[in-house]
Symmetry: D2
Subunit: 441 residues, 4 copies
C-alpha cells in the first residue's frame, strides 16, 4: 500500500498536466470528442482493453443530444485541437464515452466512473484566476470546465496508470472497469450507459466529486440525499393571427404556456417528502402585434424519492397537455435528462472512512452527509449495481482555494486546489485494493 | 279606432288591478302557477280557446327548471293564494304558460307575447315605495315583480278584453294568439314554446317591455341590438384530502375552477363585433383544511351575432373541460338559458311609429334603437317568424317615475308609472288592427 | 399508587356519564356555555379554586369568535339545556374556559389541559351508532362531539375527583392547574389563555388526545411533528356592474380571488422543510350577469418550523394584497387560528413510558412519533412552558372500536371505546404523582 | 391640370428609380440615415427650404429608439452605401426625418406625410420575386421594404418635383410642407414630430398607404377605423436561486410575468366599443434549474376610441405593477409606440373622390371604409390638424400583383405594382391644387 501511495504521489505532475490539458479544451456534453479520444488512446497504451463510441451506449436513452450541426462543428474543432484521428471516427454522432477494462482473475468486478464534460460558462480572464495566469484557460469561447470534471477525468487517468503499474496486486478481482462518462451536466449521459449493459456485471461501483466550495481537506465518505429529477423540454404550437385585426383567429401558445406555468407551480406538495418544480425558461412569440404561435419551456421536477418525482412529473405532463388543448394548441414533451435518488452502501462507506483516516490527507472526515449537491446521474449506475445485489459509493473531496473569493461551481472564476487530484486517485485505488483483499479473505 | 281607444281608457282600472294582483303574488320562472291559472281562467271567460300546460312546451327545451321540491311547494302556495283549482292540475311540473287563441276568419296570424315571471329580489317596505304604501307589495318573501312583467301580464289581459269586445273588427285576420310566457328571466322559457310549434303558423309577432329607467312618455318602436347569449351552469368534481396530512391525494376542484375563470376571461375578442363572458358566481370547498372537492360556477356568454356567441361558448366549453382534466377532476355543463340576436322588421317599425304618433301619448318617439337592454328570449319567437317569411317587432315604453330616485330594474324599489299599461295595450291592439286593415287592402 | 388506580377504576361510571352528558349537548368553540359552567360548578364543589370567564383570556388574542348574535342564542340554549345559571353571567361574550387551581405546598406547578369544544358535523342516527342507540346523541342540530373533546373534558373531571380525593399525596408540588380550554378546533383558543398569563408560572404542562382511528390499546408517549399553522379569512371587495351592458365598470373580485388562488398554490417550496398552503373555500358573486363584487376565502398555511409557516404566511399576504389591487379591489385579512410547532420534552416522555408500561393497560407502547395529527394549539402552552425552562408532553391514546367501520374524526359516525377515559385519567394522575415524587427526591 | 398629369406621367421612371434605390437599401425606424439624407439633398436641389434632424423632433417623444451602438453602426453603413456626407451629421442619434417647405403666398398651409422606414424581414431570393430578378432586392440582411414605405418616399419625391415645377400654380396657398417621417412601423415616429410643432400651422394634412393586398386599381378615399394603440415594453426583475437547493430564496420573475399575461388577457371588454390586448412576446429565464430572475414582454393595447385604449392601458399598467410586487419583483414599463384613432374629414373625402373619378385611373372607387389596416401614427398628425380646426385625409391605393400569390405586407415576398406610384403622386398633387382653387374662390 505504501508503494502504491508513493507511486501516485510521484505521478502528481502527470495528473495535473492531464487536468490542465482538458481544462484548456473544454467540451460540452456529447461533444467530448477530443477528451474521449485522448482518454481512449492513453488507456490503450496502458494496456487496457478499450471500448468506446456506439458500443457502450443505448442509443434510445441518450438525452439532450445537440443537433447534428453542432456535433459536426465540435468534431472538427476537436480535430483541430489535437484529437488523435484514429480514435475519432467511432465517436461520431456524439458517442463520446470510453470504457477501459482490465481483466484480472476470478472475483468480483469493480467499476469506477469519471465524468468528463464541461459547461456553458465563459472563463474568467482576471489575473488572479490561476488557469488564466498560468495560461491553461479555456480556448473554447463560452465553454469552461467550471464544475471540476477536468479533474475527474485526470483522476481517472491517474488511477489507470496506477492500476496498470500494479496490476498483479489486484488479481483477487475479476475485472476492473474505468468508465469515462459524457454529459453528466443536465444528468443526460449515465442512463444510456447503464441501459447499454456495461454495469450489469459490476459488483462495486465507485464515483466521486471534487468540490470548490467545500473546505479543503474534507472527505465526505458517503454522500446521500440526491433528489430524483427529470428534465423536460416542452413546446407549444398554436396559430398566429394579427392581434388587432383578427384576434379570434389565433391559437395563443403563450396563454397556454402561462396557464401551464401557474398550474405547474401549483402542483400540491407530497406528504412523503420534498418535491420541486421549476420552469427555468420560457420563450414565446414573434412580434408584438401577432398572437403568439409558439412557446417553449425548459423545466425540471425533483423528488426526495423516485416516487415523488414520478408524481410531480406525471402531474406536470397532465397540466402541459391540458393547458395546450385548452387553447387548441398542440404540444410536445421531450426528456433531456433524468437521475434517480441514491444512497451509498454502508459497507463501502465504513471502508472508505478507514482508508481516509489511515492516509492522513484529511482534516475533516465525515462518514455520511445529505449535503445537497443537487442531482447526479451516477445514481443510475449505483441503482443498477445495488439492485443486482452489489454496492456503490459516491464520495466528495473538499478542494477550496482562497476562502475570501466566491469560487462556486458554474461560475466563471471556479477553481480548485489541484492537490485534491492525487488524494482522490489514492482513495479510488486503495478502496479497490481493500475490496480485493476482502474478497480474498 | 276612436272607439277602441276609448274602450281601453275605460278599462284602465281593471288593467291596473290585474297588475297589482300579480304584483302582490309574484312567482319565479316555471312556478307561475297562480298567475298562469288566473290568466287561463280569464281568457276562457272572454271567449278565447285556451291551451296551457304541457301541450304548449317542448319538454326537452325548457331550461333552468327548479327542482321537483320547489315546484311542489310553490304549487301549494299558489293554491293557498287563490289560484283557481280547476286550472292547476295541467300546470303541474312547471308548465306555467298560457296560449289564448281567437279564431277569426281567413288571413294572417298575429301573435303577441307577454312574459309573466318575477325575480328573486326582496321588495322595499319604505313608505315612499308605492306598492308598499298602497298595500299591494309582495306577499312572497324574497320574490318581487321588479322587472315589470306584472305589467306585461296585465297588458295582455287588457288586450284580451279589447279583442273580445271588438272581435268583429279583426275579421280580416285568420287567428290572433296571445302568448303568456313563463321564465323570461334567465332567458329560459321562450325556446321551449317555439320548439313546441306554437309560432310555426304565425305571420306577425309582437312583444314589448315597459321600462322604469327610460324617460316616461318615450316610445322606441323597434329595439334591436339584443346580444345572443348562453347561460352555463358548470360543476367540477375532484377528490377531497386533508390539506396538511395528504395534499397530494386530493384532486383540487378549486384549482381547476380558478384556472378556468382566468382563462375564460382571457378568451380573445372577436374581430366581427362585441363579445362578453362573465363568471358571475363561484362556490367551492367544504372546509379550510380540506382540498376542495367541488366547485360550481354560473357563467354567461354573449355575442353581437349568434356566431360570436357560439365562438365564445365553444371556447368556454373547451377551457372548462381542460381546466378540469388538468387537475384530474370531472366536470359537467348544463345550459340554463339561451337567447338569440334579434332585429325588429322595418315594416312593422314604420307602422308602429305612425300609430304612436297619431295617439299623442308619447313625448319622444324613437324609430329604432340599439339601446342595450341585455338579452331577451323573445328573440327566439321573432327569429322563428322571420325565418318563415313573417315579421316581428319588439317595442319599449318608458315609464319612469320620480327621476330623483334610482328605481332601476332588479332593485327592491323598482316601480313604474301605471299609465304606461293602457298606452301599451293600445299599441298592441292598434298595430294588430293596422295589420288587419293592410291585409284587407 | 395502587389505591389511586383503584379509585379511578371505581369512578369509571361517573367519568363515562360526564362524557355522555357533554356528548348530548355539544357546543362549538367559544359557545361552550353549558359545558364550562358545569365544569366550573363541579370543580368548585370538589374544592378547587376556580377561575373562569374574562379573567383567564387575553381578549385581543381570541381568534375566530362568532358574532354577538350567535353567542347570544347559544347562551340561551345553554340555559335551556340545564347550565347552572349562577356560573353563566361570567361566561357571557364567549369566555367559555375554566381554570381549576389546587394550591398544595412548596414546589413546582403542574398544569393539565383539556379541550372541550365540539364541531359542526351532524351526528349519525343509525342504529349501529352507539350514542344514538343509547340515546345520548347530540341534541344540537349540526353540532357533534366528533373529535373526542367530550372525552377530554370528562377525563379532566375524573382527574379533578382523584386529585381532590388524594390531595395529600401531591404535597410536594406547589400548585396543580386544570385548564379546560374552549375553541381548540380551528386552533383558536389556546393562544388567548397563554397570553392571559395562566401558563407563566407552570413548570410542567400535560395534554393528550384520544383517537378513534388509532388502534385501541396504543399509547404514544410523545407526539411531535405538529406543524405550525395559520388560519386566514380573506375577503375581496370590488364593484358590481352589469356583465353585458357595462363590463368595464365593474371591479371583478372573483378575478382577484382566482389570481390569488393560483398564485397562493404557487408559493415556492421551502428548502428547510415541509410547507403547506390550502384555499379550502371560495365563495364569490351574486348573480350570473353581474361582475362579482365580493369574494371570500378561508385558507390555511402550515410549516414544519414556525419560520417556514411565517414564510408562507407572509408570501400569502403579499399575494392577496396585490391580487386585489391588480383589479382595483380592496381586501381584508383576519386570523381565525394559529398554532406552533411542538415537541414533547424527552424527560417526560421517558417517565410516561415507564408508567404506561407498569400499568399494563396498553398493548402497544410507542415512545415517540411524528404521527401527523395536523395542528394543535396545545403547542402554544407547551412552547410557553418550555421557553420558561419547564417541560411539556402531549400523548395519544388509541381508542378505536370496530375496525370494519370508518369512524374517523370529524365524521358523523365518530365514536370511541369509552374504556380509554380511565386509562387517560390514570396517566395524567400518575405522571403528576411521578413529578411530585421526583421533586421530593 | 392636364399639364400636371402629363408631367407626372413623364417622371414615372424617375419615381420608380427612387423607389428601387430605397428598396435596395432599406433602413429600420430611426436609422433611415441614407434615405433621409438623400431626400434632404434632393429637396434642397429642388428649391425647398429643408429642415431635418433634431430641429423637427421633440426628443422626449421619440419612442422605441434603438441603442446607441445600433444607431452608430447603421450610420456607418449608410455612409458606405452612398449617403451624402454633408447631410449626415445632423441626423446623428437617429433624428432621421426631413421636412421640405415651399413658401408660396398668403393662404392655408397644406402638409403631406410620407413614411420612409423598412421592417425586420428577410427579402425573398426566389426568381419570381421581381426585386430579386431585377436586382434591386435588399442589400441589408434581415431588413426589407416589405410594407411599401419605399414607394411612399418615392411618391413624396415625385410630388416634390411636380410642385417645384408648377410652383406658380399653388400661389393661393401659404405654405406646402412635405414631411418625410421615420419609424412609422411600431407607430413610433409621428408623435415626436407633432410635439415638435411642425403641424401646428397646418390647415390640411394628407397621407396615404399603397397596399399589396388590396385589389389593383382600387382607391379608398377616406380610411377610418384606425384603432388607438399603445406599445409597451415591460421587464420584470426578481432574484435567481437554485431551484433544487433553495427555491424559497428566489423571486420568480416568470411567475410574475405569467400572472400578468393571464390577467392582461382578462381585462374586461369595454361597453363603448372594441378593445384589444396582446402580449406578443415573452422571454424569461436563464437556466432550467434556476428560479427565473428576469422576464421581458412586448405588448400592445388598442381601442376603438382613444378613451378605450386609455382604459386598457391603465388597467394593464396596474396588472403589471401588482403581478410584479406579488412576487417581490420589480418592473419597468417603457412605451415604444403610440397612435390615436382617426377619421378623415368628410370634405376632403368628397374632393378626393371627385378627383379620383375624373382621373380614370381607378376601377373601383370607395368613398369611405373602416377597412382595418391596424394602427397608423399619421393619426397624430391628423388629430393635431383637426383639433386646430383643419382637415385631414388618409387614402389607400390598391396595388396588388399576381393574385395567385400571397404577397401580404410584412412577408418576404411582398411586392407592389409600381404603377401605383404615379397614381398616388397625382392624387396628392391634384388634391392640393383643388384646395388651392377652393381657397381662392
Amino acid at each position: 500500500m505504501k508503494e502504491i501511495i508513493n507511486y501516485i504521489n510521484n505521478i502528481e505532475d502527470k495528473i495535473i498536466s492531464y487536468r490542465r490539458d482538458f481544462h484548456r479544451y473544454p467540451e460540452l456534453g456529447w461533444t467530448e470528442f477530443r477528451t474521449a479520444s485522448i482518454i481512449a488512446k492513453r488507456l490503450l497504451e496502458l494496456g487496457f482493453e478499450v471500448k468506446y463510441g456506439k458500443e457502450i451506449f443505448s442509443e434510445a436513452d441518450r438525452m439532450g443530444v445537440p443537433s447534428a450541426g453542432i456535433l459536426d462543428s465540435n468534431y472538427y474543432r476537436a480535430l483541430k485541437q489535437g484529437a488523435p484521428e484514429e480514435f475519432m471516427e467511432q465517436l461520431k454522432g456524439g458517442y463520446t464515452g470510453v470504457l477501459g477494462v482490465l481483466n484480472l482473475g476470478e472475483g468480483p468486478t469493480v467499476a469506477m466512473r469519471f465524468d468528463i464534460d464541461a459547461i456553458g460558462v465563459s472563463e474568467s480572464t482576471k489575473e488572479n484566476h490561476l488557469p488564466f495566469s498560468l495560461s491553461f484557460n479555456s480556448s473554447n469561447d463560452g465553454i469552461m470546465h467550471s464544475c471540476g470534471h477536468d479533474g475527474h477525468a485526470a483522476i481517472g487517468l491517474g488511477v489507470a496508470h496506477t492500476l496498470a503499474n500494479f496490476r498483479d496486486r489486484f488479481k483477487g478481482l475479476g475485472t476492473i472497469k474505468l468508465i469515462f462518462q459524457p454529459a453528466e451536466e443536465g444528468v443526460r449521459g449515465a442512463k444510456s450507459m447503464v441501459k447499454a449493459g456495461i454495469l450489469d456485471d459490476v459488483d462495486y461501483v465507485l464515483g466521486n466529486h471534487i468540490m470548490a466550495d467545500e473546505e479543503n481537506g474534507t472527505l465526505i465518505c458517503g454522500t446521500n440525499g440526491f433528489m430524483a429529477t427529470s428534465k423536460l423540454d416542452v413546446s407549444f404550437k398554436g396559430l398566429p393571427a394579427h392581434a388587432g385585426a383578427a384576434p379570434n383567429e389565433g391559437r395563443n401558445a403563450l396563454l397556454a404556456a402561462c396557464s401551464a406555468v401557474l398550474n405547474l407551480n401549483s402542483i400540491p406538495r407530497h406528504k412523503d417528502g420534498a418535491s420541486r418544480i421549476n420552469v427555468g425558461t420560457l420563450m414565446s412569440g414573434s412580434g408584438r402585434n401577432v398572437i403568439p404561435e409558439e412557446a417553449s419551456m425548459k423545466l425540471e421536477t425533483r423528488g426526495q424519492t423516485t416516487e415523488i418525482n414520478e408524481y410531480v412529473k406525471t402531474y406536470a405532463e397532465r397540466i402541459i397537455k391540458h393547458a395546450a388543448e385548452m387553447h387548441e394548441a398542440t404540444y410536445s414533451i421531450s426528456y433531456s435528462g433524468e437521475a434517480l435518488v441514491g444512497n451509498s452502501s454502508p459497507g463501502l462507506i465504513k471502508r472508505l472512512a478507514r482508508i481516509g483516516d489511515s492516509l492522513g490527507d484529511f482534516n475533516c472526515l465525515i462518514e455520511e452527509s445529505n449535503k445537497s449537491i443537487g442531482s447526479e446521474d451516477f445514481t443510475y449506475m449505483m441503482d443498477r449495481v445495488q439492485k443486482n445485489g452489489g454496492q456503490g459509493i459516491f464520495f466528495i473531496l473538499g478542494a477550496s482555494l482562497d476562502k475570501s473569493q466566491a469560487l462556486g461551481h458554474h461560475t466563471s472564476n471556479f477553481d480548485i486546489d489541484e492537490k485534491v487530484l492525487v488524494k482522490s486517485a489514492k482513495l479510488f485505488t486503495l478502496l479497490t485494493l481493500d475490496i480485493e483483499k476482502n474478497c480474498r479473505e
